[in-house]
Each structure stands twice: as C-alpha cells, then as structure tokens.
C-alpha cells in the first residue's frame, strides 16, 4: 500500500482523490462477496487523499481548490449513479462517509453535506437513498448537521432553490422521511435560531399533506428485529412534528415579545405559519390513525410504542417551561392552543396505540401544565359509569363527518363521555379496530376528503 501512497503523493490532489476512489471501488467490489471489511490501509488512503487529513505532521499536502473539489463531487455523483449494484454502492458510501470518530470526521461531514446537496440539485436518487440509510444509522448529532447543511443551502442561502428540494420527495421519499426526522430533531424551538424557517415548514407540510404515509415510511420499511445504533434518530418524525405543532404557538408568542416591533410582513408570515402548523397537526393526527391500521395488521398494537413516553414527557416539560416564560395573561390564547393540540394528540395517540401510557401516568406527567379543558378531559377520562366503558361507538365521533360545524365546541359534549381508556396492558385485546376496519386505506387519506372538524379553541 505504501507504494500506492507514494505514487499518489506525487500527483495533484484531484487526480489522487480520483485514484483513491478507483482503488476503493476495486477493493470493495472484489471483496464484497467474501470479506465485507476494509483493511486499514485503504481507510487511511481515503482519509489522507479525499478528506485531507495530514498523515504525519511534516507533510502538509496541498488541499484541493474549490473547483477541484466540485470536480471530485461530480465524479462521485456520477460514480454512485452509474454503480448498478446497490450493495456495492452502499458499502462504498458507508466506507467513505460512516463516521470513524477521528479527525477526518469534520472533513467527511463537509464533503457529505456538499455531495448530498449536489445530489439533491441534480436529483441523484441512489445517493439520496444511501444518504437516507446513513441518516438512519448515524448518531443524531451528525444527522442534524447534515440537515442543517441542506436547510442552509436550500432554504436560507439561495432564494428560490427550495423547489429543488421539494421535488426530491417524489424521487426519494425515504430520504425525505429521514430528512424530516432530522429536521425536527434540529429545530426544537428552544431558541429563536432553532425555529424552522417558514420555507422549510412550508415544504415539510407540503410533503406530508401530499402523502402522509411518508412519515411512516422508515418505520414500515425497517425490520423490527434490526437493532439500531445508540443515539440515532427516532424511527418516525412523529414526536418531532408533534413538538412543532405544540410549541409553535408558544414560540411565536415569545418571538413577538422579544421583537416588539413586529412588522406587518412578519405578522403575515406568522399567520401563514399558524395555518401551516394547523395543517401539520391535522396530518399528525391522521398519521396516528394510519399507524393504528398498520400496527393492527402487523399485530403489534399495544406492544410497540411508536411514540415514546419519554419524548412525550420531555415535550410536556418543555411546554411547561415555555408557558412559565410567557406571561399567561397576554399569551392565554396561545397557551390554550398549544395545550389543546397536546391533548388532542395525546388522546389520539393513546387511542391508536401509538402511545403506551396509563392515565395515571399521564396525570402526573401533565400536572405541571396550566389548566386546559380538553387536557382535563383527556386526563380524567370518561365520566360515564363503568358499564359504558369501551363502547366502540364512542370513537366514531372522531372519524365520520359531524353535521354541526357551527357549534364552537362540537366535540366537547360528545367527547365528555369518552371512555376511560382501558389499561394499556390489555388494549390490544380490545376490538375497537373492528370499528375502524371499514376505513379507507391510508393512501386515500386526503384532507379534502376528510370531514374532520378541527377548531382550535379561541
């Protein structure tokens, strides 16, 4: 190997990198069948000539210029595009970009960011698929960085380029699903900076409303048995999106407070975003319902917690902190809206079996939150006597069309006899799913066809 290295050292950085790629292809392509490992020297070559990690102190290699780097990226793009074997592509991708926890990681991330960004621009599906896998297997901290690069590139830096990213959804939905998860992990509303840019929100909502199944794509495609590495992204973006919906009103109120001189433009933006968040909330609820179908089909209902209790607890904690920050007098509407959304989502999630949580736990969980009628209802459970519990007829209120759109709180009287949810341990034995079986298949879910009346309490 050292003779290769010496030969490479004499060449200009671009051709050396090309050579290393070629070498990698040969080495991995041939060894794929028998020993799917990389010898150490190859890894070092990659790190030295592609990611420019100085091997020893005294040899300071010339870095590639930006144009050369672009050339290299272009070559990589073409290579992955033209590599017909999925397995080889995957192996090479991970050989290049899976993080080693060494000095090369920064450079690796930079190159990966540029590569994926470029792949998005020129719509290289294979690369996007590889990136989706990468996102699935990598620690969320790095995933978030990749997401940040893409968001910066397409949402903040170049005006008008968001459409390019938007179009990717049709080409590689799996990538988009992972991207949404990463993006929701990135933007958690903990500060002004970490509020999703409106264009990103617009795009995400567009994707989801177009096809809500997108959110479950990774979940469905991932075999249950496969053990995911520690600290990676969640399987679905549901928790993150729920956080967005719940915290958005509070965060916008906070932003309004800090920047008192809200221009008219920002107000318009705010209104638009509010609408988007409502849409998003609806979609999330819908996806929970779809999830129930899926879980039932897989006979996983009640056994697999898609929405982790821990993430709900964290969300509740964050909401309570935010609420305390805000002055309840001025932000009452926003707080109520956020709590309404939270309550609805919790209710639906528990009902659909996405959240495995006892009512007692929920009560202790939500005890710090301020009073909210709906949350109170959700927590207290049904007031009806025991006998009336578990009546499947209770649920249909949620799904079919309600003929009283003018009533401000149409669901409240109807929901009040909501049955106490059965003990979670047993609810997989229950039969409510039979009531839902006549539902149309998930892909037929469309807001237009839905008569669900959702009104935030004003």
């Amino acid at each position: 190997m050292s003779d290769i290295r010496h030969a490479l050292l004499r060449r200009d950085p671009l051709s050396a990198a090309k050579e290393v790629l070629y070498h990698l292809d040969i080495a991995l392509g041939s060894t794929l069948q028998n020993a799917p490992g990389l010898d150490k020297s190859t890894v070092e070559l990659v790190e030295e000539f592609i990611f420019h990690v100085p091997k020893d102190r005294n040899t300071q290699r010339k870095r590639m210029s930006c144009v050369q780097e672009l050339q290299l990226l272009e070559i990589m793009c073409s290579y992955f595009q033209e590599q017909s074997k999925d397995a080889v592509r995957q192996v090479i991708f991970s050989a290049l970009f899976s993080l080693q926890g060494n000095k090369a990681d920064e450079s690796r991330m930079a190159t990966l960011g540029k590569l994926v960004s470029m792949a998005v621009a020129v719509c290289r599906v294979p690369i996007l698929e590889c990136a989706a896998t990468w996102l699935q297997r990598t620690h969320s901290a790095w995933c978030v960085r990749l997401a940040l690069v893409l968001v910066d590139d397409y949402c903040t830096l170049v005006p008008g380029s968001i459409s390019t990213l938007q179009n990717v959804c049709s080409a590689s939905p799996r990538f988009c699903c992972q991207l949404i998860t990463a993006v929701t992990a990135l933007y958690d509303f903990s500060s002004e900076e970490l509020t999703p840019p409106p264009s990103l929100l617009d795009m995400v909502v567009g994707w989801i409303t177009e096809d809500p199944r997108l959110l479950l794509l990774t979940f469905i495609n991932t075999p249950l048995t496969s053990s995911l590495p520690l600290g990676c992204l969640e399987v679905t973006p549901l928790a993150g999106l729920l956080r967005w919906c719940v915290k958005a009103p509070l965060a916008s109120q906070r932003a309004r407070k800090s920047a008192a001189t809200g221009a008219q433009l920002e107000q318009e933006n705010g209104a638009m975003c509010e609408e988007l968040y409502s849409k998003l909330h609806l979609s999330v609820l819908q996806v929970f319902l779809m999830l129930q179908v899926h879980l039932t089909e897989q006979n996983l209902l009640g056994r697999l917690a898609v929405l982790q209790v821990e993430s709900v607890a964290a969300l509740v904690e964050e909401v309570s902190v935010l609420v305390e920050e805000l002055n309840p007098l001025h932000a009452a509407n926003q707080i109520q809206l956020a709590l309404d959304r939270l309550a609805q989502a919790l209710q639906v999630a528990m009902a659909t079996g996405a959240l495995l949580c006892s009512r007692e736990d929920l009560r202790t969980l939500c005890s710090r939150l301020p009073h909210n009628n709906m949350l109170q209802l959700v927590m207290s459970g049904p007031v009806v006597p025991h006998g009336a519990a578990f009546q499947p007829s209770v649920y249909p209120y949620i799904h079919p069309a309600r003929p009283t759109p003018l009533s401000p709180h149409p669901s409240l009287p109807a929901l009040s006899p909501l049955p106490a949810h059965p003990a979670l341990a047993t609810h997989h034995q229950l039969t409510p799913h039979t009531a839902h079986s006549p539902l149309p298949p998930p892909h037929a879910f469309h807001p237009a066809s839905m008569a669900f009346q959702y009104r935030p309490i004003r």
Partner: protein
Amino acid sequence: MSAMFEGNTLSAMQTSQCHTQNNYSPQELALEIKAFISGVDQTQGRKLSVRDHARCAVRLLRTVPACRGAVLEHLRGVYDEYVASFFQDLEAESDNGSNSTATGTNTSVSNLEDVVKEIHAVLLEFIRFNPKAWAPLVSSWAVDLLGQLSSKHAGRRAAPHSSSLNELLQLWMSCAATRSLMECYSQCLAAMLAWCPDACVDALLDTSVQHSPHFDWVVAHIGSAFPGTIISRVLACGLKDFYAHGYTSGEKSSQQQAMDKSSRVPKIGSVVGILGHLTSRHSDSIKRELLRMFQDSLSPSPQNAPPSAGAAWWENSPHLRRATVPFLLQLAALSPTLLGAVSVELVEFLRPPVLLQLHAQFQGLPREELENMLGLAVHLISQSPAGGARVLRFLADTATPASVIISGPTPSPHDGVREACDRLLQMLLLHLHKLVYNRPEGEEPYPHSTSACAVPRVIPFLEELQVHVGELCAETLRLERKRHLWLHQLLCLLSVYGGPSVATEALCQLLTQARNPEELALASQLHSPLSSSIPGLLPAAVARCVAQIHTQNLNSRELAQLLNNLATAVQSQEEDCKGGSAASGSSTHSSMAAQVGAAVSSHLHDFCPLLLHGDTMVSRAAARLLSCSQLPKACTPAQLLLISRAAVAHFFIALRQRGEGLKVGGQGGGEAVGYSMRLLSHLAGYSSLTLKIVLQQLVEGALHKGNRDLFGGQIETPGEDGALTPTQVPDLGASLLDINYKFGTTVNFSGSVWSVFHAGVIGKGLKPPHIPSQSDPDKVNQNMQTLLAVTVQCCSSGGGGSSSNGSGSGNTRYHPAGESVLDEPSPINAEAAKVIAVTLVENVCPDVANGELSWPPEEHAKTTVERDIHIRQCFEANPVLFHLLRVVAAGRPALCYCSAVLRGLLATLLAHWEASREPSVADSPWHLQASCLLVSCMGEGQLLPPVLSNIHEVFPHLSPFEVRLLLLGVWEYMRGNSPMPQKFTFIAEKGMFFRDFSRDGDVARYIAPIHNVLHKNIDRLGHLCWRFQI
C-alpha cells in the same frame, strides 16, 4: 450599480417566489455543472468564452448551492481578468492616445463588464435576501479578492504609486470590478456590523497587513464609510493583537525607529495607517475613541461600571486593560497625527484619582518595562505638537512636593505618583537637553530659516512652548522649591532651541518680572549659559524692553520694576568694579552687568521721558536707572536737551515728594532726590552744553511759580492777576472779546509810571493780602540746601567733562545733613556762574531796557521804577534768589552780569529806606535782610571793595535814614566803578578770578559817609570800627 435594486422592496418570501421561474431540470443542472467544470458547452461541444463561463457560474450559484465555493473561486478569475484588461486599456490609451487600436480590448472589457454587473447584482440580491448567511461569506471573499487584485496589479504601469492614496482610490474606484467588490463589501459590512463587528474588521486588518500598502485604499474607503464603528473596532483589534504579541518587544523597536513601521509589530502598523487615513476627516471621533479607551481601561471594576456600547467585550480582561496604556503610547509613537489628536486632552483626564489608579496599575510591572514606558512617554511629550504648556504645568504641579506653605492648584497627590512625575520631568529635561544640543551645527543661529540641505530637527514640544515663554518666566520667578529649577532649565533649553528671538524674549520677561535681587539673579543665571551661544543677547534684550516701553505694553508697576531691575544690574556692575580684585567672584554676573550698563546707556534717551511719568514709582525708578548709568559718548544736542529738561523737572518733583513725605516702594523721598541730584551732576559734567541747560533749567525751575513754595516763597493767590488770564478763570466764560471791551480804552502802559497798580485793579477792590507761606521752615531750608548743593555741584563740576571730581564722591546714598559741597569747597566755575547769572537776570528782569552793566546816577532810577518794583517783588517772593545770587557771586566775575538786578533791588531799597519813618530798621525786617544780603553778595562777588562790603554788619544798628546813606554810598561807588568782567583776572593757583581794587582809584571818598555814621553812633558801633579801616 446598486440602483437597479433600489426599488426592490419585495419580502424574502416574495423574492423566493419570484425566482421559481428559473427552474432547471436535474439533468440540465448536471450538464451545467459539467460545463462549468470542463469549460466546454456539453450540448454543442465548443469551448465556453470567459463571458459564457462566468454566466454559467452565476447560473450555478443561483441553482446549485453546493457549487457556491467553486463558483466564487471561479469568479475571482473573472474579476482578475477584467482588471487586467482594464489596465491594458489604460496603458494602451496612454501609449497612443485615443487610437483606434484600443477598441479591440475595449470590447473585452465591456464584454466582461456586463458579466461583472450580473455577478454584482446576484451577490447583492443574495446579501439582501439573507444577510446573516451571505454577508460573512461574501465579505471575506470580497476583501480577500480585493487584496489580491490590488497587490497583484500594483506594479502595473498605469497604476499610481502606492503612496498617493487619493490617486489610487480614484483609479480603483473607476474600475467596475473593484468598485463592485467594494460595494458588495460595504453592504456586507453594513449588515454584519449589527451582530459580529469584530469578525469583519479582523478580516479587514488581516488582509491589510498581508497586502499593505496596496490595500490601503480599501481600508480608507471603508473607514470613511463606517467611521464610528471602524475606528473603535480597529482600535480594539489592535489592542488585542498588541496584547497577544507582547508589547515589550514592540516598544523597544519603536523607540529606536519610531517612524519606521516595522514588520515586527504585526497589526499596529496597519492600525496606525488606517487611523492615519481617517484623521483627515474624522479626527474628532478618533480622538473620542482613544480617550474613551483610556478612560475605560482605568474604570475601576467592569462589574460596577455600566459597560458602554461595544466596550464591554474587552474591558472584561484585566490584562487587556493593563495593556491599554502601553498600547496607546505605542500608537501615539507611531503616528504623529494621532499623538496630536490625543495629547491636548489627555492631560485633562489625569486628575489625582486617575493618577492613583495608573500608579496602582503599573505597580506590578517589571522594572525594565516601566523604564521603556517612561522613555516612550518622554519621547512622546517631546514630540507632541500641541498642549505642551498644559502638559508641563501638569507635570510640574504633580511633581512639586506637597507643602504646607505653598498650596498648589491641585490637591497634593500621592507620594508615589509625585516621585514618578518628578522622574518623568527630569527625564524629559534630559531628553530635551540631548535633543537641543545634538542638533546639527548649521541651524544654530536661526533654526527656522535653514535651507533644505540640513533637515532641521524640529522638537514640537519646544516649538509650542516658545509661545508661552512669558508664562514660563512668570512661573519660574515664583521661586517655588524645585519647580523653578526645572523651569529655569527648560527656559535655558528653550532659548538655545529657539535662538535669539526666544532668548531675548525670555531675558526681557525675566528683567521685567523680577521683583527682588534673588529673582533678578535668575536672569543672570539664564544669561550666563546663553551668552556663549548667542552673541548680542543682552543688547537685544534691552532693546526689546525699550520697545515694550514704547508700545506701552507694561503697566506702571511692571515698568518701575523693569527700570529698577536694570538699575540694580548696572549698579551691581559698579560695585563689582569697586570691589575690584578683592572680590571678583562672579565674573559672569559682572559680565552681564557690564553689558546691561552699555546697553542701557545706548538707550538712555528712551528712558528719559519716563522721568516725567505720572506714576511716582516709575519716575523714581527711571531716575535711579539714569543716575547710575553713563551717558553715551555720542549724543545729539536734542537728546541732551530732552534728558536735561526731564531730569530737572524730575528733580523738583522729587523735592516736592520728599516734602510730602511720600514713600513709594520702600524708598523714601530722600533717596529719590539723591538719585536726581546724582543724575543732574552727571549731566552737568557731561558737556558745557548740558551744564548750561541744567543750570538754566534749575534756576528757572526754582523761580517757577509752582515751585516757589518749596523754597519758602509766597504762593501767588489766584485772584492776583487771574482776571487778566482767561486760563485761570475758565469758568467765567470770559472771552478775549469781553476783555478787550473792558480794557479796550486803557492802553497798556507797561514799563511806564502810569501802569503801576500796586494796591489792586480798579473795580476789583484791593488785592488780597499775601498768604504767608505755610511750609515748614525746616523743609524749606532742606530744599533750599538741596537746590544749592545741586547747583554748586553742577557749577563746580564744570563744563569740561571732568566729572570725576563732583560726582565721584559717592552720591549713591543721600545724606540729608552733609550734602553740601562746602565740606570740600571747590571753586565754582565762572562760566557756570555766568549761566546762572544770565538766567537770573532773564527771569527776574522783565525788560531789557537799561540792562547795561554800568550804573547810572542814582536819580535815573526813577525811570525804571516799575521794573525795580518787579525785581523787588521777585526777591520778596523767592527767598531762594539771594542764595542763588550768592552762588553767582562765588563764581566771580559772574555777578557783573546781574548788575541790572542788583541795581533794581538797590534802587527799591533806597526808596524804601528814604521813605521809612520808623525809628528802627528792625521795623522792616525784610528790607533790612535784603540790604544786608545784597551788600554781602556784592562783596562776595568783588563788586565792592572789602571795606564797603562790610557795611551790612552795621545795618541792624542804624536808623533807616542812615542805612539809606550807606546804601547810597554803595550806589555811588558802583557808578564810579562799573562792574565789568574785564576787571577780573584769573589767578591760576587759586583757580579763581580776582579783582584788583587798587587799580580802581581811591575808595576813601566813598568811605566818608560810613565814618560819619560810625562817628554818630560810636556808642553802639565802636566795636565795629576796625572793620572799616582801609
């Protein structure tokens, strides 16, 4: 160029929607990327032109974010190309004027120009769209590219030299590419200043260091666009960098080569450069920033003090705060303009608490560093162009030891601070000393007029202090402890530095302002080191003093002080001369004194008007000065006349003041009279002309109405003949016409019998009786004696110029008792006596008719009755006349010239005694006395022979008639023996004239009446008979 976007107020959302139209399919984009990389159009297979390539790059910039870096890198080449062709055009243009050959390249420039415009537009659009994301990116790119371009093309023929900043700026701003870059950078900066100002200025400074000096135009342009922020940021960055590099090394280098912006000091050079550019327009804000920096560095604790905008970041670190003062010093050392901006006001901030803080701050520093800083501070002070006086005062105030007696203007500072200031001041003096004395030789006499060959080493501190010489002198003269030593030293340096003009000024100020001998000693101390280097210093200084007198800049106190000081200086010379070999210790002192004496005497006539100055002190001082200085050898008669007149006038004033017991400036009137007497005798001894003038003036003065009372004379009452002179009764408003109407018919028979009105004027009643003289007889005697002493002195000193005789007898001190020259009688000069005589006659005798020397028969006296009465009145009014007559008599044969007066007086006396019906002569005492004095006088003057002249001894014992008889005898003798000067002969061994009476014939005939009277009164006069034996 940015105008095309002026109207673009679309929101970010709208903009993004606007651009959705440039949607390319992924395949197209892929081709585009390939084309960009390879430079070949992928569909047509031909090579892209520079312009198309650039277009392609811009498209990619808009669509493929990942290409950002590559595109920007490519665009550098485009800009470079543009600049290159721009210079080519310029050079071609300058080569062959407006030739047509330039058109070929012109198209390439214009080709690229629209691409550059396009790029500019895109970048600006992006910056506006999202400044937070784009501004750091574009700004670093633009600034780097600008640096690269400007240093790369700096060597071009068309490019002006890097030192001419304005030309450079003009050239680069006329180039579209660099202008567009500049505009982009400004936009970025404007956006970034809001949230990360440090970063962008850091980048600017880095680039500036890298590409200096070709990059200066960028910094200058940016700096003038964002003065407020750039200045403070630049300073802050400089300070950080200064601290990071350790300030000791930089300091040493700067002290050795202050003007050299050495490369060892990394950023401070460019900081200085940038601030230097900005001082032309924004010196105020730079000054403010620097001072604020200084203040902030001293604010005791950053926690307590509310951090001002932009200051909090660096205040946090105590190390940085400690480095601030060295940094500022360093900065000032590198840039004179900055020094000038700060030095004036910095001193204002150095109040005692601030000083204490500074002291505390530097306590911990190592000794060597402190030394360095001290040196730097000294260097800076000596170089500071303005405010030197304030700095000096501050230093002196602070360094002056606290004292109970002298309370300075500021409360006494801490001891440590005081010592530090003391040291600083001494170092400063030492430094200045070196600077002053090490200057090149050629410029010594006139540092300002040196030609360009020898660059004069200007010391701004001293330059500025030259204006304040007066104040310095005043400060020095306060003789406050150490302070006057420092200041005196400084004055010395200043004088040497400034050449004759300053030295003269300083000396003149010292001479004017010194109030006592100790203070005056400072002047000679200043003179002694300077006299060697500046020739003719003292004459110039005295000339300057005289000029000051002429311009009347000085008030009377100062004037008197100046004159006294000069006099003291001259006198010290005399004393030294007297001391001679015994005590010739202070040779330098005497040299100054001698020069002063010479200088003063050459300006003597300039001082003489001061004798008559309204202020007593001044006139007295002037008299003192004149009395002790020598008259110049060559003096025009006009000047002499002036001096003499003034001197005499002053003499009478002094007499009067003595009489009034006026004490001025510690000097009694007697002293003043002494000065005056000395001056007069000097003058009289100078030449015959002056002698004549002096005597004439003295006599006239003594007889003057105003001075009459000094000598026991009668004061004329205003009503006596006031009605005739309108000046004395101005209030009546009587016009000459009225008077003429009133007396129109009365002819003035003056000189005839008819015009005699002794008792008064008809219509006005009787004349008021004479007011008897009020003056104290002692004083009158004293005055009289003084006058006679002066007169005698003058007379005996003679006109020949042998002044040593009369004036050398130590009249510097005036002895009221022993003033008279009779101690050592020296013969009175005949000529002088004649002058007195003639003057007397002129003054006493109203007309010259019958003025001949020979006496007529006694009866003829009737024709001159009026004149005679007038003469008698004169004698009545002026007792001094008799004394003067005695003086005249002593200077034989001068009395002959008084013949007319004597005759007139004798005639009136004869008339009186004839008419007198009193039993005793004692009843008319004045006439008796006058008769006695007259006769004795004539005897003294040898107009009468000894026997005849003795008759006055018997007068008191006779009856009026007998007196008349005797006096008649005198007349007869005079008629018989006319008083002619020819009758006198000079006896050399006695030095006097004598008259030989034996040649005049028999005296016996005139003696017979005497004997008869004796015989008649033999019972009472027996004891006197022996006096009348021939």
